[in-house]
């Protein structure tokens, strides 16, 4: 290990690994630090992703694909299933293998990686971040770097130590619990989303199939809901009603920062990526693909800044992210605020009217437009959803 690096990445999730890889590909010396013992474990995620979201960054590999997805089923509060067929559109991942393989692609590009390294402070000189302080197996250490990339997840503190406003409004935090259960009898090509006050108010409940009859099951509710009833109680209710004796193989809590991107995701010597930058798609809660995109932009720009010997160049990251995805997330955020405030009756009406159109015409766009045509009373709400 060296005593200083061009770029230090804090956190070895998908966003961190891709940032490390793209920086190393520019010829920079890169070190990625992970606080946990293992890269890829524990898994705090629904694990679903679109094919396009993956293949931009890694060759699909059956070792980390747990299911191939071709259908979405949206289940309204009265149990009506609105099924949308997509063709071969996505995967449910085996993230403990996926994250590990992503980190290996960073390693192959030349990045060094160290687990059990808990970053607990930054070196800041004249208002610029110049390195990290970290604990490694009980020893306090320091390393200098030209750029620090914070990929430290929903619990990110690296950004705030650098003076960026990173804490998230508790109403925008989707508080989640997630289990892997066995003997779940669902279609193994369908992602199931349940909506309604009883299952996940202000969010959704998911069942995503995995290999051999297992499923990733969970839900997220806003911190506003959590004030009265926790995500865990919603999960327990659902499982008791639907799968009372399903064997549970994993069970864990998690958080999804479900908002638009932070106002600033770079400052002198520091860049934020993934959940730490709040780069999650606020409508779906999906953050793997968008985190990898954020990581790729940040890693490349950081590498270029080192090559050009122009530290200020990293500040162009904000704009590039905004143009690539940040802008779109602002629209998704508005749609989210419309949809997740629908009453149970409205969800039911939309599902019924959707199912009354011919099967081959049932697309996601149709879900909204048909609801609008067939149920004029929904017009105002749907319009609200699409007003930008």
């Amino acid at each position: 290990m060296k005593t200083d690096y061009d770029i230090i990445v804090v956190g070895a999730g998908p966003a961190g690994s891709i940032a490390a890889r793209f920086a190393a590909e520019q010829g920079a010396s890169v070190l990625m630090l992970e606080k946990d013992r293992d890269v890829g474990y524990p898994v705090r995620c629904g694990e679903a992703i679109s094919k396009a979201g993956v293949s931009e960054f890694i060759e699909p590999d059956e070792r980390w694909i747990s299911a191939h997805i071709s259908k979405f089923a949206l289940i309204s509060p009265d149990g009506t299933e609105a099924v949308i067929e997509f063709g071969d559109a996505g995967y449910v991942l085996e993230r403990r293998i996926f994250d590990y393989e992503l980190a290996k692609t960073a390693a192959k590009a030349g990045a060094e990686i160290l687990t059990r390294a808990y970053v607990n402070g930054l070196i800041i000189e004249n208002g610029k971040v110049c390195g990290v302080k970290y604990d490694y197996r009980g020893q306090q250490k320091e390393l200098r770097a030209k750029v620090v990339i914070g990929a430290d997840g929903v619990e990110s503190r690296v950004g705030r130590w650098a003076g960026l406003k990173t804490y998230i409004d508790f109403r925008d935090m989707e508080c989640c619990v997630q289990i892997t259960a066995s003997n779940i009898n669902v279609n193994n090509e369908t992602l199931y989303f349940y909506f309604g006050q009883n299952v996940a108010p202000g969010g959704y409940f998911w069942i995503f199939p995995k290999v051999n009859g297992a499923a990733n099951i969970g839900l997220g509710v806003s911190g506003m809901v959590g004030k009265k009833k926790s995500a865990l109680s919603f999960l327990n209710n659902f499982m008791e009603q639907n799968f009372p004796s399903a064997p549970i193989l994993t069970s864990i809590a998690g958080g999804v920062p479900s908002s638009i991107t932070l106002e600033k995701i770079s400052a002198p010597g520091i860049m934020l990526v993934g959940d730490a930058a709040r780069q999650v798609n606020p409508l779906s809660g999906g953050g793997i693909a968008s985190g990898m995109i954020g990581g790729s932009i940040a890693g490349r720009i950081a590498g270029e800044a080192v090559k050009k010997n122009n530290p200020d160049y990293i500040l162009t990251y904000d704009k590039e992210w905004h143009n690539r995805l940040g802008k779109r997330h602002e629209i998704f955020e508005r749609i989210k605020n419309g949809i997740y405030n629908f009453s149970d009756e409205k969800f039911n009406k939309i599902a019924h009217s959707f199912n009354s159109i011919p099967k081959e015409k049932r697309t996601l766009g149709r879900l909204f437009t048909t609801a609008l045509v067939n149920q004029p009373s929904l017009l105002v709400d749907i319009a609200k959803v699409f007003i930008i």
Partner: protein, 73 residues
């Protein structure tokens, strides 16, 4: 009875560390950077906490409690 002291008086936020999943929801919503979270270790940084309770509301598994009486030292 001696109580732990928050920034704004008696500390009223109580994390039950042995029941925690270390997911980080509480850290993400804390406006004061008053929660320390490692791989399998979590605690309140007393002198920063303002008892705002946002961490209590956002805990998915109910392991952060609001204790009006104050958390004993």
């Amino acid at each position: 009875m001696k109580y732990r002291q928050a920034k704004t008086g008696k500390l009223m936020i109580d994390i039950l560390p042995d029941k925690c999943d270390y997911c980080g929801c509480c850290v993400g919503v804390c406006p004061e950077d008053a929660i320390e979270l490692k791989e399998a270790e979590i605690f309140i940084i007393d002198e920063r906490c303002t008892n705002c309770a946002k961490c209590v509301w956002s805990c998915p598994i109910e392991v952060i409690k609001f204790n009006k009486e104050g958390v004993p030292a």
